[in-house]
C-alpha cells in the first residue's frame, strides 16, 4: 500500500509537470537558437523529462490513489 507521502509527492510532481509545460517565464521571447525558438527547445526537453518522470512513476509510484485496489 503506497504511503500518504508518496501520494502527495506524486501529485505535486504531476502538477509541476503541468504548470511548467508552457514556459511562462519565456513569455514574449522570440530568441532563436539552432533554428528553433528557445521556448520550443524547452518544450522538447520538458516532454523528454515528463516521459522519464512517468517511467519512474510506473516503477515506484504505481498504485497511489487507488485505495482498495492497490493491495
Amino acid at each position: 500500500m503506497p504511503t500518504r507521502t508518496a501520494s502527495v509527492a506524486w501529485g505535486a510532481a504531476f502538477l509541476l509537470l503541468a504548470a511548467l509545460s508552457i514556459p511562462w517565464f519565456l513569455w514574449n521571447d522570440s530568441t532563436v537558437v539552432a533554428g528553433f525558438p528557445v521556448w520550443l527547445w524547452w518544450h522538447i526537453g520538458w516532454m523528454v523529462l515528463a516521459s522519464i518522470v512517468f517511467a519512474v512513476f510506473t516503477q515506484r509510484g504505481w498504485g497511489v490513489w487507488m485505495g482498495g485496489w492497490s493491495a
Partner: protein, 524 residues
Amino acid sequence: MIPSPAATGALQSAVTIQIGIVVAYLLLALGVGLVAYRLTDRTAEDYYLASRTLGTVVLLFTTFATLLSAFTFFAGPNIAYGLGPEWILVMGLMDGIIFGVLWYVVGYKQWLVGREHGYVTLGEMLGDRFGSPVLRATVALVSLFWLFPYVMLQQVGAGGALSALTNGAVPYWAGAGLITVFMIVYVVLSGMRGVAWTDTLQGLFMLTMVWAAFVWVLSAVGGIGAATDAVASTNPGFLSLGDGSASPSLFGGGAYSLPWMLSQAIGIAFGVAMFPQVNQRFFVADSETVLKRTMALWPVVVLLLFVPAFMLGAWAAGLGVPMPESGNILPGLLAEYTPTWFAALVVAGAMAAMMSSSDSMLLSGSSYFTRDLYRPFVNADASERREDLIARVGVAVFATLAFVASLFNPPSLFVIGDTAFGGFAQLAPPVIVALYWSRTTLSGMLAAILGSQLFYMVTTFTPAAGETMTVWGIVVPGVMESFAGWSSSVVGMVVGLVLVVGVSVITDPSVAEQPSVLQGPTDD
C-alpha cells in the same frame, strides 16, 4: 487557357497515382480486418474489447491514431500557419501531460474496475455503481449526442479530401460513400482487434510520413535556420511566445493568451478521456505493464508527431505558401516542395487517418447503444451471440445514418461536431469524483451531468452576448461564451464539479447504490 496534352497527361497520371494509393490503403485495411475476423470469438466482449488483450504498441497507436490523426495533418498545421506554432505547447500540455496523468487517474482505475466486473462501457460501470439504469442511459445518450455529428464530420472530411485529391474526378458523395462502405465492412467483420491493428499500421505510417515531409521540405528550403529566418522576417510575432502582450495575464486576451491556451489544453484533454472510443480503450489493455509502458511513452510520441507537423505549418507561412483551395496548408506546402507521388501519399494517409478515427467511433457508438440502451431497456436477456449480432448491425446503421446526414451538410450538426470535445469534457468531473469519492450519490451524478451539459449547451449554442438569433420564429437572446478569456468548456467543468460535490453532500445515497463496485476489494 487550354492545358497542354503533356500537362493533362501529367495531371491524369497524378490522379491515377493518388487513387491507386487510396485504394491500396483501403484494401490493406480490409485485409487486416479479415485476418482479425478469423481470430475473433463471436462474443460482444471480444468484438468490442478484443477480449482485453491489447499489447503496448497496439494500445498506444490505436489510442493515438484514433484521436489525433486527421488533426495532425490538417487542422493543427492550419492553426500554426494562421496563428503561429505555440499550439505545439498547448498540445504538449494537453496530450503529453494532462492526458498522460488522466491515463492513470481515469484509465488505470477504470481498467481495474472493468477487469473485476467485466464492464465494456463507461455508462455500464456508472449504472452499476449507482444502481441506476437511468444514469447508464443518460451517459450513453449524452455521449451519442456528441459522437454522431463528430463521426459525420470525419466522413465529410474524408469525402472532401478524396474529392480535392482527385480534382473532382471522384465526387464528394462517392468519396464519402466509398469510405463509409469500406469502414462498415471491416468494422462489422473484425471489431476492436481489426480496428486496433489498422490504427497501429496507420499510426506508424503517419509518424514516418510526417518526418519524411519534415526532412524533405527542410532540405528543399535550405535547412531549419533558413526556414525559421523566413518566418522571422514575414511573421515576427510567430516566434515569440504568447499573444504579444508584455506578460501573461490570468484574465482576458485572445488566441495564445494564458486563459486561451489553458482552456484549450484542459478542455480538450478531459474531453479526450471521455470520448467513447478513447474511454473504452481504458478497458482493453492486456496487463498493467501495457498501461505503464503506454503512459511513459505518451509525451515522447506527442513530441515526435506534433513538433514536425506544426512547424511545417508555421514555416509554410514564412515561405509564403498560399492557402490552397482545399483549405488545408500541409498539402499546399508539400505540392510546392515535394513530388506529386509523395504529396499524394501524405494526403492519402491523412484521409485514411480520418477513417481510423471514424472506425473506432463507430465501434464505440454501437457498443454504447447495445450495452446501455438496447440491453437494459429492450431485451435484457439477449444472449452473447445475439448481442454480438446487434453490435455489428449497430455499426452499419450508425455509419449509414452519419453518411446520409453528411450528404445534407446540416449546419447545426457541424456546430455540435465542432464543439464535441467540450461536450465530452463536461462528463469528466462527475466521473472522476465518482471514481474516487465513495460519498458521491446518484442525485449528485445526475445533477452534475445534466447541469453542466445544460450550461455548456446554452453558452455554446446561443449567439454571442448582445446578439440574437431567430429559431422557428422565436428570438433567442445571446449568452456569454467566454468568461474573461476562459472557455465555457472549462467553466462548465467547474459547474459540474460544484454540482456533483454539493448535491452529493446534501443528499443520501439511494438503496440500490453500491460504492463497493469502485472501491476495490480491500478498502477499509
